[in-house]
Subunit: 213 residues, 2 copies
DNA sequence: TGATCGTGTGTGACTTTATCACTGAACTAT
DNA sequence: ATAGTTCAGTGATAAAGTCACACACGATCA
């Protein structure tokens, strides 16, 4: 029995009807849920796990746009579902999990019948828009060293992160060399310890702590 | 009698009801429709003119996120309307025009009653999301000289553009000095002629013409 | 008809980031 | 152990961002 905040708020009758037509899919870490150009079959609701959405530019470079986790709705799919256009980005599973697929017909019906469902969808859209606006500002105006430190902090203020420099470069939308150099500098400052495919955070001092003091 | 594609497709009955509660506002060039932090009173539908939406980062720098023109819906307002949060960006009128303001109650009713209206709203969201995704890619991976040339081309492939370097910098999300230098370089290449507050395009050769040949 | 002031533009010096080209180190599979 | 693959480090150079300041243009006012 799939649980998702946007389904749980539905009135009993509608929820039951919807449940019957919803398929739950499991996805292993690393699986590509959809890639650029593909067409959308239904609206995925993330029940468990985490998925990153990234796009690759004409330049061939990629950047991570946002992540989806439990109780998220795949906002991108809504647009593709309603307009029939293909995806512009791709979604890759980071942490294995499962999603409920809402077929087009059920989606239309829920949008029509349930103000709660509509609100959920609109909120999801609003959040994505916000995320992207913030990302634009981040990419356009923030220094790479600060962005890298923030990323590391957000991921784990202490402990070991398993990621390659290349993947980290995609997270930040920069080049692998840049990440390597910045990390080396952090290592010289004793803030991290580096090894192949791993970054150990040892003494990252969040600069905002100093500034905000 | 206001005309807007999302209203014109409504069934007669609903359209009439809506029209009664909609206020049409005129706005002069330069007017700020809303700014960051403000709360939203209703959903603006652009009937005429053009509006640019820009945000200012913590750094103090600004960047233009997208533009709205005839038949556009102010997507940002939807989110603010439904969640009650304040705007994160600001909207400035570029070309004087007018907008129809849909009050919250009418918006809710239209969303509830009209699949056509819903589709229009969702399409609008989808387009914005696409715009922003493209912008992220553009900002993260494209060279400034190319972006500048593209911007000039898109604006007017020939003729005089009235804009300051500072404003152009905000369009591209960069610094004024960078724009000044790139423009000077274009002037040396006889592609533009510069004067205070004006850029005359003389012989801009779109590189895509050459590449695509 | 200058003098003055606000705004826009030009530019040097320097830092940060991106790109290119390559080396070597670390894991994997045989 | 060896060969192949993926990751990481680094020098050289170009592009872009930052800082500081000079100057140019146009409006206004005495």
């Amino acid at each position: 029995m799939p649980h998702h905040s946007i389904l749980d708020i539905l009135p009993e009758q509608l929820r039951k009807e919807a449940m019957e037509k919803i398929q739950v899919m499991r996805f292993p870490s690393g699986q590509v849920l959809f890639s650029a150009g593909e067409h959308c079959q239904g609206l995925p609701l993330v029940l468990k796990g985490s998925v990153k959405v990234q796009m690759t530019g004409v330049s061939g470079h990629s950047i991570v746009l946002y992540r989806m986790g439990k109780d998220d709705v795949c906002t991108l799919s809504i647009g593709c579902l309603m307009t029939g256009r293909g995806y512009r980005a791709e979604a890759v599973v980071e942490e294995e999990g499962e999603a409920a697929m809402i077929p087009r017909g059920v989606f239309d019906r829920l949008m029509d019948q349930s103000p709660e469902f509509r609100l959920g969808i609109m909120e999801s859209y609003g959040r994505r828009l916000d995320d992207l606006m913030l990302l634009v500002e981040e990419v356009a105006f923030h220094r790479m060293d600060e962005r890298l430190e923030e990323w590391l902090q957000a991921r784990a203020s202490r402990g070991v992160i398993t990621i390659t420099h290349q993947e980290l470069a995609v997270e930040l939308g920069t080049a692998r060399e840049v990440v390597s150099r910045l990390l080396k500098e952090l290592e010289r400052q004793k803030m991290v310890r580096l090894s192949r495919g791993k970054i150990e955070l040892t003494g990252l001092l969040d600069s905002s702590v100093l500034v905000g003091a």
